[in-house]
């Protein structure tokens, strides 16, 4: 059994990436379920997908990942990596986009620590967990000309987290599932 969280904010394509990864799991003969949590977020709000896979055909999995059972975390924003770390264990691999997206809070509210004073990057680096810092957005811009393709590159690390190795198949499924990706992705991105 393996449990993965892909986290980010509204508009980063978390839902679609979760679907692609789930199809990859199915392709690899795994039982797979995933739940996307997006609340009422239209934009900028936390969005995450809990992906649960199992090599056994018959098993009972609840919809959520229990604390200490997270086997991989891929985050498209440092804040969203922090948010899910309570589910991690000592050996959980964590991949994190280093570029922080705006964390919107009511700017007229008083008595709260200014968000600019808190660095999620510094906080992550101070924790006893090895962080794989990534530049998904920069990579997407460089390779495809569109930062929205950052989720494609985050997906490659999601495959690693689940020990899935068929990258050409991932590429193919991404093409099928995400309209417009084919125009941006080179054949062997």
């Amino acid at each position: 059994m393996a449990n993965l969280i892909i986290a980010g904010i509204g508009g980063q394509g978390i839902n679609r990436l979760a679907r692609v990864i789930a199809e990859c799991c199915r392709d690899a003969g795994l039982q797979c379920q995933y739940t996307v949590h997006k609340g009422g977020a239209q934009t900028l709000g936390s969005v995450y997908a809990e992906i649960r896979t199992n090599r056994l055909k018959r098993s009972t999995l609840g919809p959520g990942i229990p604390a200490g059972s997270l086997d991989g975390l891929v985050a498209l924003d440092p804040w969203e990596a922090l948010r899910h770390l309570p589910l991690a264990h000592r050996a959980t691999p964590v991949w994190v986009e280093s570029e922080t997206q705006p964390l919107f809070r009511d700017r007229t509210a008083t008595g709260q620590l200014p968000i600019e004073a808190l660095s999620p990057v510094d906080q992550l680096n101070s924790l006893p967990i090895p962080i794989h810092w990534k530049g998904y957005r920069k990579l997407a811009l460089k390779r495809t000309g569109d930062v929205r393709m950052a989720n494609y590159f985050a997906g490659l690390d999601s495959l690693s987290a689940l020990n899935l190795s068929d990258r050409p198949r991932y590429h193919e499924i991404f093409y099928q599932e995400i309209a417009g990706a084919a125009a941006l992705l080179p054949e062997t991105a």
Binding site: R26, Y34, V36, K38, G45, G68, W79, L85, T108, L118
Partner: protein, 614 residues
């Protein structure tokens, strides 16, 4: 419970989908003829899926303007013999409750299934109201599937059960099932050819006096007969164990995962009910015969516990508890269950969790960049601030649900549909001199707000309503609203019910909008400020052109550090450098609406656009 089978047979089709897909596919495979709904999370996508498959599966879809109308329309369709589906979120059931109280007495013809998306934990709603209690009030059967494959099968079966008992059947699915995805095995079925006719039937449809009592009796008798004939319960683990657990719905799989991970399979016996109303008590009586203690594990108020106690009172000898151990709010969590079982079985819990300390603020989202709600609320704030400065009178902003309720939460309340215009008119009636205005989208206006506005007119209340017309039910997935269809002359409609002024405004010129709001608040009568701004996620051709051709730049040399754009307008595309204190515009996020340009008193924001004329 059988997990989804990865090897479907030839007449089956295994597909990835979420709970919304499961419901829609089941309705298609059950041969649904007629669908009505009001969009609401977590079942907001069901009708989109049905719509996408309409050519192949052919059903009529009624995009009702509220749940009351949706409920009545499916009752009508069912009486003509159509298999009918009604879809809404939990709070929608309150709106539909009036007609549904009669739906059990009219002897429906075509199967009528009512799918309700519940929301324990309030993940996508303004409340986590427990609507289970409507099942005994309506006296309808209620199915609560435990997982995706059971959700699919449950909806298919609900149509059959509905026709069997001639009653609507409720199917509840919580958010954590509606938004869960997995492999769903569809069962291909021949779509039967049905002819639709309405047969006059005054005995059952003129429901008054002695007939009303007789029809009520027939309704209850059908339900009682159904109760004895149907058993959807399943039992798991050790039948000899003296400790029993009873579950329903999504709490079942969480409970089983915890039991199995703690190795308690030999020490507990588990009973799950999918048909939780009316409860067939026989399986429970068998289950309870050798138990010393039974605990009901369920989200929310303890509906199943109450029903079990009602039906089994005086017939079992063991202790039966539920809500004594689990709170009636929020979702039952894995953690709560682990602690509960550890306490009962005296287990030492080991956790792999790391003791980490960090600060991570909640990130609830906000209006999108380019959303018309943001500058509109800026304008409302400015108008009320000016009135407060001049008169000392504190303004009140009535809030409605939908996208306009997103953070930074500028309204004074956020409760339910039409709470904006409804509650504001009560206050304005009582306090006519106070600057009180209401807000709400056009979805809410057609849902019930129009009646509220007319009520304010009829009662001579001085009220200003800000109508956000973004031409879509945006929050639930951009279902079209009547104004998007171009069939409604909104101005004539509002003037026709007695609204004294209908004032069209451009939200991206918030300074002028603030002046207009201030002037309008001082006038007598019911006035509507019609905010015409499309949802930023459904851009017009002009908005797309601006995105391509317009550039905005914040010149810090001219910036007076008033923070009007950053702190008052609160556009997320405007960022603050914590070290230098300087502001900047993130052009990757900016949608070029230029509202910031309008609010800047120092002309520090420069625009480059061949078609911009100020």
């Amino acid at each position: 419970m059988q997990p989804a089978d990865l090897t479907a047979t030839s007449d089956q089709l295994a597909m990835f989908g979420d709970g919304n897909d499961a419901i829609a596919w089941a309705a298609q495979d059950a041969g649904v003829d007629y669908v009505s709904h009001y969009p609401g999370s977590p079942v907001n996508r069901v009708v989109d899926v049905l719509q996408a498959g309409i050519e192949k599966h052919g059903c009529l879809i009624n995009h009702a303007l509220n749940e009351h109308i949706a409920a009545l329309s499916v009752m009508g369709a069912s009486l003509c013999g159509a298999r009918s589906l009604l879809v809404m979120k939990h709070v929608g059931l309150n709106i539909a409750a009036d007609p549904l109280n009669y739906a059990g007495q009219i002897k429906i013809k075509g199967g009528l299934v009512i799918v309700v998306g519940t929301d324990p934990g309030a993940r996508s709603s303004t409340g986590e109201e427990d609507v289970h209690w409507y099942a005994p009030q309506f006296n309808f059967p209620l199915l609560e599937p435990v997982d995706l494959s059971h959700l699919y099968q449950g909806v298919v079966r609900a149509f059959e059960l509905s026709e069997q008992v001639q009653l609507p059947v409720l199917v509840f699915t919580p958010g954590r099932l509606a938004y869960q995805s997995g492999l769903i095995t569809r069962q291909a079925a021949e779509r039967p050819s049905r002819r639709f006719n309405f047969h006059k039937d005054q005995q059952n449809l003129i429901n008054v006096g002695a007939r009303a009592v007789r029809n009520h009796r027939h309704h209850i008798e059908r339900l009682r007969q159904f109760q004895q004939q149907n058993d959807t319960s399943t039992m798991h683990y050790n039948a000899d164990a003296s400790y029993g657990i009873v579950t329903r719905g999504a709490s079942h799989t969480i409970c089983r995962e915890v039991i199995e991970s703690l190795g308690l399979e030999s020490r507990v016996h588990l009973l799950n009910y999918e048909l939780t109303h009316p409860l067939n008590i026989d399986p429970f009586l068998d289950f309870a015969a050798n138990k010393s203690e039974i605990v009901v594990v369920e989200d929310q108020d303890g509906f199943l516990e109450t029903m079990l106690k009602r039906e089994a009172f005086g017939r079992v000898n063991c202790r039966l508890e539920g809500k004594r151990h689990f709170p009636p709010w929020g979702e039952i969590s894995d953690k709560q269950l682990r602690e509960f079982f550890a306490d009962h079985f005296d287990l030492q819990l080991s956790s792999n969790s790391l003791p980490l300390e960090f600060v991570c603020p909640e990130r609830p989202g906000s209006f999108c960049e380019g959303c018309p709600h943001r500058p509109s609320f800026y304008a409302i704030d400015k108008a009320l601030e000016e009135i407060a400065r001049e008169s000392g009178s504190v303004g009140v902003i009535g809030g409605d649900i939908g996208c306009s309720s997103l953070p930074p939460h500028r309204t004074d309340w956020l409760l339910c549909m039409n709470a904006g215009v409804g509650m504001a008119q009560g206050m304005a009636h009582l306090l006519p001199e106070q600057p009180i205005l209401s807000t709400g989208g056009e979805g809410s206006l057609f849902h019930g707000g129009l009646t509220s506005l007319q009520s304010a007119v009829e009662n001579g209340i001085k009220l200003t309503h800000i109508l956000f017309d973004n031409q879509a039910i945006a929050m639930t997935g951009h279902q079209p609203s009547p104004t998007a269809q171009g069939r409604v002359d909104l101005r004539s409609l509002l003037l026709g019910i007695g609204v004294s002024d209908v004032l069209e405004v451009n939200p991206f010129a918030p300074t002028a909008m603030a002046t207009l709001i201030k002037q309008t608040l001082g006038k007598q009568g019911v006035k509507v400020i019609h905010v015409q701004g499309r949802c930023a996620l459904q851009p017009t051709e002009e908005a797309l052109r601006r995105l391509k051709e317009r550039r905005l730049e914040l010149n810090n040399a001219l910036c007076g550090e008033c923070r009007e754009c950053y702190q008052a307008l609160q556009c997320p595309a405007i960022g603050l450098n914590a070290d230098s204190g300087e502001l900047h515009i993130d052009m990757n996020r900016c949608r070029r609406c230029a509202a910031c340009l309008d609010v800047c008193p120092n002309d520090a924001i420069e625009v480059t656009d061949p078609l911009y004329h100020g």
